[in-house]
C-alpha cells in the first residue's frame, strides 16, 4: 500500500486496536512504575522543600534542608565515613573475588567442581541477610568462636575486643555479605573470553603475566566494573551492619536518614538527605556504565 493512499476505515480501527492492546499489555508494569516509583519519588521531592515544624512538617518552598546537609559537619562526616566503608568493602570483595573467579574459570577443569564452587559463593544469598550478618557477631564477639579458638590454640591469653563493634567488623561483614555480587559478573566476563585468545597470546611470545595484563584483565574489566558498582551501591546504602557489628563510630548515611523519619521526626530533612544520596548513586552508576561501554568499545 502506498503512503499517499488513505487507509480504509476498518484497517485504521484495527491498527488503533493493536496500539491499544500494546498499551494494555504494558499497563500493569506502567501502573506499577507510576504508583510505586514516580509517586513516592515525587513525594520525596515535595517533602524535601518543606519545613520541619513541630509536630511534623509544613508545606513550604525553600532549600534550607539541602543547605543543612551541606553545611552541618555531621552529615559530611557520615557521608565520608559511608564512602570509606563502601570503598573498602568493594576493594576487599574485588581482591577476593577476582582470583576466585579466575581460578574457577581457568584452573578448575571439571565442570561439576566448577559449578559446585560457584554455587558455594552464590548459595548464601538464599539465606537471610540479617542472619548472615548476625552470625559474624557470634564469631567475632569477646566470648565468640574466633576468640575461643585463639585462646585454646594458645595464641592469646585475653580475648581480643578489637574484633567486634568497630568499622573493621563492618567491612568484614559487608564484604562477606556482598561478595557474590562481585563474583558473579567477573565470573561471567572471564567465562566469555575464548581460550583461543590465550593461545594466540602465547604464540606471539607473551608470558603468563603479560597475557593476563594485556588480554585477560582488559576483557574482564566490564565484569569488574559491574561488580564493583553493585557492591559499592549495596554497601553504601546498608544500615544493618552498623547496627549489628558497628561500634559507637559506626553510623552510616542510611541510618541517619532512617533517624530523620523516626526519632527526629524531621521528614523534610530525611527526604532531602535521601534524594541527595540518590543523585550521588545515580551519578556513580551512570559513570560506571559509561566506563564499562568505553572499555567494550576499545576492544570491539
Amino acid at each position: 500500500m502506498s503512503l499517499a493512499e488513505p487507509l480504509p476505515e476498518a484497517r485504521l480501527r484495527a491498527r488503533r486496536w493493536t496500539a491499544m492492546r500494546r498499551y494494555l499489555v504494558l499497563s500493569p508494569p506502567l501502573l506499577w512504575t507510576v504508583v510505586f516509583m514516580f509517586v513516592p519519588y515525587l513525594t520525596l521531592v515535595v517533602y524535601s522543600v518543606w519545613r520541619a515544624e513541630f509536630p511534623l512538617a509544613v508545606p513550604d518552598f525553600q532549600f534550607g534542608n539541602y543547605v543543612t546537609i551541606f553545611t552541618d559537619p555531621q552529615y559530611r562526616n557520615v557521608f565520608l565515613r559511608t564512602l570509606k566503608i563502601a570503598s573498602l568493602v568493594s576493594l576487599c570483595a574485588l581482591l577476593l573475588a577476582f582470583p576466585y573467579a579466575y581460578f574457577l574459570v581457568f584452573r578448575v577443569r571439571s565442570p561439576g567442581w566448577r559449578l559446585a564452587l560457584y554455587m558455594a559463593v552464590v548459595a548464601p544469598l538464599w539465606v537471610s541477610y540479617l542472619l548472615r550478618a548476625y552470625t559474624w557477631k557470634t564469631i567475632l564477639g569477646t566470648n565468640g568462636i574466633l576468640n575461643s579458638f585463639l585462646i585454646s590454640a594458645g595464641l592469646i591469653d585475653e580475648p581480643l575486643t578489637v574484633l567486634l563493634y568497630n568499622q573493621a567488623a563492618m567491612v568484614l561483614t559487608l564484604t562477606y555479605v556482598f561478595i557474590p555480587f562481585m563474583v558473579m559478573p567477573i565470573y561471567a566476563a572471564l567465562e566469555k573470553i575464548p581460550p583461543s585468545l590465550h593461545e594466540a597470546s602465547a604464540d606471539l611470545g607473551e608470558g603468563h603475566l603479560s597475557t593476563f595484563f594485556k588480554v585477560t584483565l582488559p576483557l574482564a574489566m566490564p565484569g569488574v566494573i559491574a561488580g564493583f558498582t553493585m557492591t559499592f551501591c549495596l554497601s553504601f546504602g546498608d544500615f544493618i551492619a552498623p547496627m549489628l557489628v558497628g561500634g559507637p563510630d559506626g553510623q552510616m548515611i542510611a541510618g541517619v536518614i532512617a533517624t530523620q523519619f523516626g526519632a527526629a521526626l524531621n521528614w523534610p530533612l530525611g527526604s532531602a538527605l535521601a534524594l541527595t544520596m540518590l543523585v550521588f548513586i545515580l551519578v556513580l552508576i551512570s559513570a560506571s556504565d559509561r566506563l564499562e561501554r568505553v572499555g567494550q568499545g576499545r576492544l570491539a
Binding site: E53, P55, L56, L130, L164, P248, D249, Q251, L265
Partner: protein, 351 residues
Amino acid sequence: MTIKTRLAGGVASAALALGAAAPAMAEGELNLLTWEGYADPSFIAPFEEATGCTVSATYVGSNDDFAPRLAAGGGVFDLVSPSSDSTAPLITAGFVDPIDTSRLDRWDELYERFRTSEGINSDGQVYGVPYAWGAIAFMYKPDAFETPPRSLDALMDPALEGKVALWDDKSAIYVAARMNGDMDIYNLSDEQIAAAQETLGEMRSNVRKYWSSAGELVDLFASGEVVLSNTWAGYQSALLAEQGIEVVEFIPEENAEGWMDSWMVVSGTPNEDCAYQFLNMAISEAGQCGVASVNGYSVANPVAARECMTPEQFEALHQDDPAYLDSLLLWENLGPRLGAYTNAWNAVKSQ
C-alpha cells in the same frame, strides 16, 4: 530511631486469640499499636471472652514509631500506648481523641502525678489513661566492680574502656546533662545541649555499643561485652536473671529518668465502646497485674496493685513507696525542642 527494632516491629504484628469470643457478643475489633507484653493473652483472652471485643496487636520497638505510624494514614489502629514524652505530636496533630474520664470507673485511683501530668493533659482535656511506669535505671555486673558504682561518673572511668553500653536514644543527652550538673534535663539550653554532646563525645572511648533494643542489651551483658549500661528498670535485668546472669540495678546519685505509658484513643475509631471497655480493664486488677507480671513494670493504679499483687511484688515494683516515684525525673514532652536534642545525639553518633 533504630532499624532493627523497626524491622522487628513490622514483622511482629500479630493477631491474638482470634475467635475466642462468642459471635453473638461480638461488638468490635480493637487494633492496638503497643509494646510487646501490653497485649499478652494472659489478660487479653479473658477480656475478649467477657466483652466480645476481639483484640489484635501490632508491636512497636520504640516510642518513635507511634507518630510516623499514625501520620502515615489512619483507619488502622484504635488504641496506642506511647510514653508520656511522645504524646505531644499525637495530640497536637489531632491523631488522638480526648478521653471521657467519667466513663472510667477507677480513674480516681490512679496516681495523681500521672493523672495531672503534662503528657496527657492539654487544653483542659485528658488524652491518655496512665497504665505502667518505671525508671531508666543503670545496671552493672557485680563481679566487674570492686566498689559498686553509685554515680554516673563511672561511665567515664578509664578502667571501663570499651565496657559501657548506652541506649541509642535522646535519653543519652539526659544522662550527659546530669553528669554536667544540668538537672533540668527537659529544658536544656542550646549551650547545655552542646555541653552534653561534648561529654558524650568524651565518653565514647568507653562505649562498646549504643544499644537499641531490649534484646540487644541482654545479649551485650550475656556475652560479656559490657558491664555497665542504662536499662529499662525491671525488664532487661529480669531477662538476664532468666539466663542465670547476675546484674544489679541502681538509681545513680544524679537521679534517673522515669517513664510512664498511657493508652490513647485514636481519633475517629469506630470501636469506641470496645476501646473504653479495654481502658477500664487496663486500669483494673486484670490489666495492671497483667502487665506487671508479664513485663515487670510498675503500674499506674496502686489500689488495684495492692489487690492483686503479692506483698513482695508490691514492694519490688515500688508501689508502696510514693517517694520513689516522686524522685524520678518523669519524661516530658520536648515539644519544638525535640529537634535540638535529637540533632545533638545524631551529631555524637556521626563523630
